[in-house]
Structure formats: C-alpha cells, structure tokens
C-alpha cells in the first residue's frame, strides 16, 4: 500500500516535472497573444488584418472567451520595417511576455524575427506571408505558415501555361521584392527545362508611378503568355494598358491581386475577361458566395464588429480566416502551454474555414507546417471568377 502510494507520488512528480512546460502568458483566466502589423508605412493597407483580429478577439471575449480564458490580444505597429519588427517582437516576448505570436505580417518583417522566435522557443504561428520558407519544422520548430505559398502558386501557373499554349512565349512582370521574386522563381521552377521560353522578364518598384512601359515592351517581345506578379494598383494598370494596346496574351494574374473590387473593376471588367488566377479564398465581391454560410457568417461579423470595414477588401476576409483558425486550434487544445499550443497547431485535420474556397481544407501535422496548400484555378468571365478544373493540392 505504501509502496503504491510512493509509486503514484513519484509518477506524479515526474509527470509534473515533464509537464513543466512553458506557460508564459497563460493563466487560468487569460492568455496573452502578440502580433505585429503594418499600421503605418507603405504596407498599411494590410493593417486591416490586424484590425480584424483585434475585433474578432474582442467579440470572443464578450462571449466568454475560449475555454474560459479571455484573450489579451496585443497588436503592435512595425511600419513594415524589419528593425522595428525585431524591436516589437522583443517587446512582446520579453516585456509583455506573450504566450505566442499570431499572424505577424510580411515576409522581410517575419524573416527578421524568424531565428529569434525559435531561439526563444515562442510559437510563431500562422505568419501572414506567402513566402515559401515558413514550413520547415525540422529547422524551425516554432514557426508555422498559413497561406498557400507564392512559389507553389507560380509553379501551378507555369504548368497550366505550358499545357494550354502551343508555341509558348512567356513574359513576366514582377514586383522587385521578396514576394515578387518568390512567385517568379516558383514559376521558373515550374517551367523545368523550358526556361528559355521566357522572352521578357521585367521588374518594377512599388515607388514607380506606372508599369505601362513594361507592358509595351512585353507586347513588342511577341509574348503570348503574361505572368502578372503585381499588387492591386499595378495589376490594374497592367491589365488596362495591355487592353489599350491590343495585347491579348494568356494572362496569369497572381492571387494577391485577384480581387474584383480592388483590381478588376478599376482595370475595366471587359479588359479583365479571360484572366486566370489561382484562388484559395472566397472573393468577397463575388456574388456567387453571397448565399453561402461562410460568407454570411463573415458579413455578419463585419456588420457587428467592424461596421466601417470595406466588404470588398479581401484582407478582412483573410484576417477572419486566420482568427477562425486560431480559435479552432485553441478551442480543441487540451494543453495550454507553449509546447502544447504548438502541438495543437500542428494537429489540424480537414478544417473548412468560412471564407476559404469550399473543398480547400486546412491540414497540419508535425511534418506539415503549411496549413493551406491547395488552390483552384479560375477564369474571369467579365462579372465574376468562374472556378474550373480540380482543386490542385500542392502538398506532394
């Protein structure tokens, strides 16, 4: 009897010792979550994503929190400047003592804190960037991506283009930064040994006034395929200019600029007809989603929590998807410690998020740190994006 008690006591102590996992930022009644977002500076359009999270967790708190704990969501401005992201991340981890960070935004900004977060063993969850480097748990076990990666999307376009066009001649317009080059490099990889089919590859800077001259040069090059890696303002310019000069290639538009409201309308819906993009989100300006449960849920959230929010801005939908994913992870998590939450984040199975395309499911595992990896091609018919083909799952 006494031996059994001793055994039980020893086991309990050992278990307690093993479970001496890191509960920084977590109490029985609250959890502190950190975030950095560009509320000022050149990327401040993406600040609405952080705003969406803040509104979402305020709503969750009013409804009793998650597993009885209130969410203390601390979102700091880094102005899209990597040194400031470093400073704010250190503030979150060392001063605010957050449990983990969530959807920190931007590729150069997240790059700057990538090693720090892993060195400090703080979960760096669902980073808001499509760069390909976030899904490497062998080296960086505390960092997890979120959206389909740019380079995989580029590959999808390359394979599609080679499939569709006889005698392909390819032109690529790309933003001269990590995002643009990631897409470009993925596309080139998708071409395999046919890289010499690229007849024109031109960059632009976000500080340039227009991309018109690049479009003219591309038409002159005789290209019949156009891979358009631009952010919305420049995408609209590119579409309009090609229309003006009568250049009608197979137009592959990166998903980042696929919003009807933000890009195609300003470009001209007629000019945009026939453009192809890969989708993973439900475009909030596309009427085909208005009657779906997912859209209604999001629209109701926007109306109640962010009434002045622009319903045609897909960034609000993006933020909502991120928040819902985190909510799901926390709600289904037993072990509320840093290690435990990381483990739960790496254990999502077949989750359909409301504003993600039907059939594109979130899946993670200890070896798969890319939550969303599927996309579906769609073609613009003058009014809306019409999905075609199969959901292409890039998780092979």
């Amino acid at each position: 009897m006494r031996f059994k008690t001793l055994l039980a006591a020893t086991a309990a102590t050992l278990l307690a010792g093993a479970a001496q996992a890191d509960s920084t930022g977590i109490t029985d009644t609250s959890i502190k979550i950190g975030n950095t977002s560009p509320y000022s500076g050149p990327a401040s359009a993406y600040g609405v994503i952080g705003k969406t999270h803040t509104a979402y967790f305020a709503m969750v708190n009013r409804n009793g929190g998650i597993k009885g704990r209130t969410i203390d969501f601390i979102s700091l401005d880094d102005g899209y400047s990597p040194p400031r992201t470093v400073e704010q991340a250190r503030k979150l981890v060392e001063q605010e003592k957050v449990a983990f960070t969530f959807q920190t935004l931007g590729t150069p900004t997240n790059s700057a804190i990538h090693r720090y977060m892993n060195a400090k063993k703080v979960p760096h969850l669902f980073v808001a960037t499509g760069a390909s480097k976030w899904g490497h748990p062998e080296q960086y076990p505390w960092t997890m991506g979120f959206q389909p990666t740019y380079d995989v999307e580029g590959e999808i376009y390359a394979k599609y283009a080679l499939d569709q066009v006889k005698d392909p001649k390819i032109a690529i317009l790309f933003q001269n930064d990590d995002y643009g080059k990631d897409y470009r490099d993925g596309f080139l990889r998708g071409l395999g040994d046919k890289k010499d089919l690229v007849v024109s590859m031109l960059p632009y800077e976000t500080t340039d006034p227009t991309v018109d001259s690049q479009i003219v040069a591309m038409k002159d090059s005789g290209a019949n395929i156009f891979f358009n890696v631009t952010t919305p303002k420049f995408a609209a310019q590119a579409i309009r200019k090609s229309c003006e000069i009568g250049w009608k290639p197979l137009h592959l538009l990166n998903n980042v600029s696929s919003s009807v409201g933000a890009t195609l309308k300003p470009a001209g819906l007629d000019c945009s007809t026939g453009i192809i993009t890969a989708q993973w989100q439900r475009d909030p300006t596309d009427p085909q989603w208005f009657e779906t449960e997912g859209y209604k849920e999001w629209a109701a959230f926007m109306k109640a929590e962010i009434p002045d929010g622009d319903l045609s801005d897909v960034n609000y939908a993006y933020g909502y998807s991120g928040s819902r994913l985190l909510h799901h992870v926390l709600e289904n998590c037993e072990d509320w410690t840093r290690e435990g939450i990381m483990g739960c984040a790496a254990n999502v199975k077949d989750l359909q998020l409301p504003m993600v395309l039907p059939g594109i499911l979130v899946n993670t595992s200890p070896t798969d740190f890319y939550p969303i990896q599927a996309e579906q091609l769609s073609k613009f018919d003058g009014e809306k994006w019409v999905l075609f083909g199969e959901v292409i799952d890039a998780s092979e």
Binding site: G79, P82, P83, V86, E87, Y116, N176, K181, T207
Partner: protein, 328 residues
C-alpha cells in the same frame, strides 16, 4: 588674451556622473530595455554625424539614411560572406562610409540649401533600390537581406545585450570626444565659419571646398559606424529598412536633441526609440487618445515651437540664465 579653459570642474563632474549613470543602466533594467537604450545610443551616433554636417557646417542633408545603410551593409557583408570579427567591421564601415561621404561631398559643393537637400533626398530614395539591384544581389542578399549573429559578450558574466550596450557606450563616448575636439579646434571654427558666412570664411583663407567635403566624409563616417552597430543589435539587414523615412527620422532626432550640439544627440536618440513606443502604449490604453504617429507629430511640433534648439539648446539656455542670475 587667453580663452577660458573649457574643461571646468563642473564639466568633469557632470561628465563622470553621466558616464557612471550610463554604465549602471544595464544592471538596473531588463535585457530588452538595455537593448532599447543601445538602439538609442546608436541613433545618437548617427545623429552626431548629421549634427556635424548640418548643425555645425550648415550643409543640409535629408539623405543620411544612405550612409547608415552603407555602414550597415559593409558590416553585414564582411560578417556574412567573409566571417570577419564583429569589431573589426566597425573601422571598415567607417572607412567605406567616409569614402562615400567625401565622394558625395564633391558634387555637393555646387549645391546650397534647398538644392542640396534635394540631392541628398535623391540619395535616400535611391538607396533601397540600389541595395536590391540584381547586380549586387550576391553580396547584399537582395530583398531577402542578410542574417548575422550578435557578437559574444566581451566580458564573462554579461549577457549579449549588456555587452553590446557597453561597446556602443564606449564608441559613442569616444566619437563624442573626437567631435568635441575637432569642433573646438581651428578646423572646427573654420567649419562653423563656413556655416555662418561662407564668403567671409573663404576671404579669411579657409579652404571651403576641402572643409566641406571632408566634413561630409566625417559626417557620413559617424552615421556609417552607427549603421554597422545597428546590424549587431538587430542581427538582420534588408533594403527596405533604410528608406527615406529613416532619413526623415534622423533629421527629426537631430532637431529634437539640438542640432547644434553634441550631448543633445543622446536626447534625440532616446526620443526616436521611446516616444513612438510610449505613444503606441498610450494609444492602446486610452482609445480616445489620437493615434501614435499623431502623438509623435504633436510632440515634435511642441519641441520645434518651444525649443527650436532642441533639448540641449534648452539646457544651455537654462545654464546661461542661471549664470546671469549668479552674477547678479
């Protein structure tokens, strides 16, 4: 008639007290706050460069972010590609930025005031693009930037942040003494004469061209050293960190601290690091408060309006007032 000895007992005591206080800080606060103070000192060194050029020599620069970037990338490239010792990269960065500063100072000779400002502005705007340029990508890492590691602590028992703080403190004090010595010498008087009345200065035999370009070089060198130190602290360089906004911030910091001063740069650095943070904290706590950058702007307007010579200008005015009171 001999000039009064500037090294008064008061100055020495004040200096020692300040240094002692500075040395104590890492033991009084967390590593994170130590790191913030280190950043403030790094800005201080950068601002010292700007003060020498604009405050003391009258050459307007809205482009010092370019020299900061050159210093940072010199250090980063030497660390990343050539695995130099951290501290050896500092004189290297100093030499390289001096060279570029001097080189830029040559065409700048033909420009005054607004036009010089525009030329430096062009430099600031071009810098991120040049850093991303494909031709240099192999060295600069292009848009992906370069990663380096913090140096190991110089003294056993100190954390990396604490060690870096002391290194920065030492370098800052050294550079301040150098600047003070230069500005108190004949060369310093020549530099200031060029600011106050260039025609009179050259009539008196001052080689304005040589002084102006050399001052540009020295100014760039100071800011370049700051850039190099910033790489140790942040462990990462990327082109978009060195944009025009940084150049504006440096000018703001100079004005707030006192553009014609040496000790003022400390206040300028503290302002640049801590005010945006406080503004953000206050904004989060009290929703009725205007957004953080508006607070920053309001604070700046107050400083410019009530203390155009910055914090140090205010200090000197108080000192002059007390001296007048003492004399009766």
């Amino acid at each position: 008639m001999s000039r009064p000895n500037p090294i008064t007992p008061g100055l020495v005591i004040g200096l020692l007290a300040a240094v002692a206080f500075g040395a104590a800080i890492p033991h009084l606060v967390t590593d994170f706050t130590t790191y913030q103070f280190t950043l403030a000192m790094i800005y201080g060194i950068a601002l010292l460069g700007l003060n020498i050029l604009t405050g003391y020599n009258g050459q307007f620069s809205v482009g010092h972010s370019a020299f900061y970037a050159v210093g940072a990338y010199t250090a980063a490239i030497l660390l990343y590609h050539f695995e130099w010792n951290h501290y050896a990269t500092i004189p290297a960065a100093a030499l390289v930025t001096f060279f570029f500063g001097f080189l830029f100072g040559l065409p700048a000779l033909r420009l005054e005031g607004l036009y010089l400002a525009l030329a430096t502005f062009a430099l600031a705007v071009a810098t991120p693009q040049l850093l991303k340029f494909d031709l240099f990508e192999h060295w600069t890492g292009g848009v992906q930037g370069l990663f380096v590691l913090k140096p190991d602590p110089l003294i056993e028992g100190l954390s990396q942040d604490q060690s870096l703080y002391y290194v920065t403190l030492g370098i800052m004090l050294f550079l301040m003494i150098v600047a003070w010595t230069i500005l108190r010498s004949r060369s310093g008087r020549a530099i200031m004469a060029i600011r106050d009345n260039p025609i009179a200065a050259s009539t008196m035999g001052v080689n304005t061209a040589l002084y102006k370009t050399t001052t540009f070089g020295i100014s760039a060198m100071y800011t370049g050293v700051a850039g190099a130190l910033s790489v140790f602290v942040t462990e990462f360089v990327s082109p978009d960190a060195f944009n025009f906004f940084l150049a504006v911030n440096l000018l703001v910091g100079s004005v707030v601290g006192g553009i014609v001063s040496i000790p003022g740069v400390i206040f300028g650095g503290l302002f640049l690091v801590f005010i945006p943070n406080y503004a953000q904290d206050i904004s989060r706590l009290y929703p009725w408060v205007p957004p953080p950058w508006a607070i920053f702007g309001i604070f700046l307007i107050l400083v410019v309006y009530f203390a155009p010579y910055g914090v140090w200008g205010g200090v000197e005015r108080i000192r002059a007032w007390t001296q007048r009171r003492a004399k009766g």
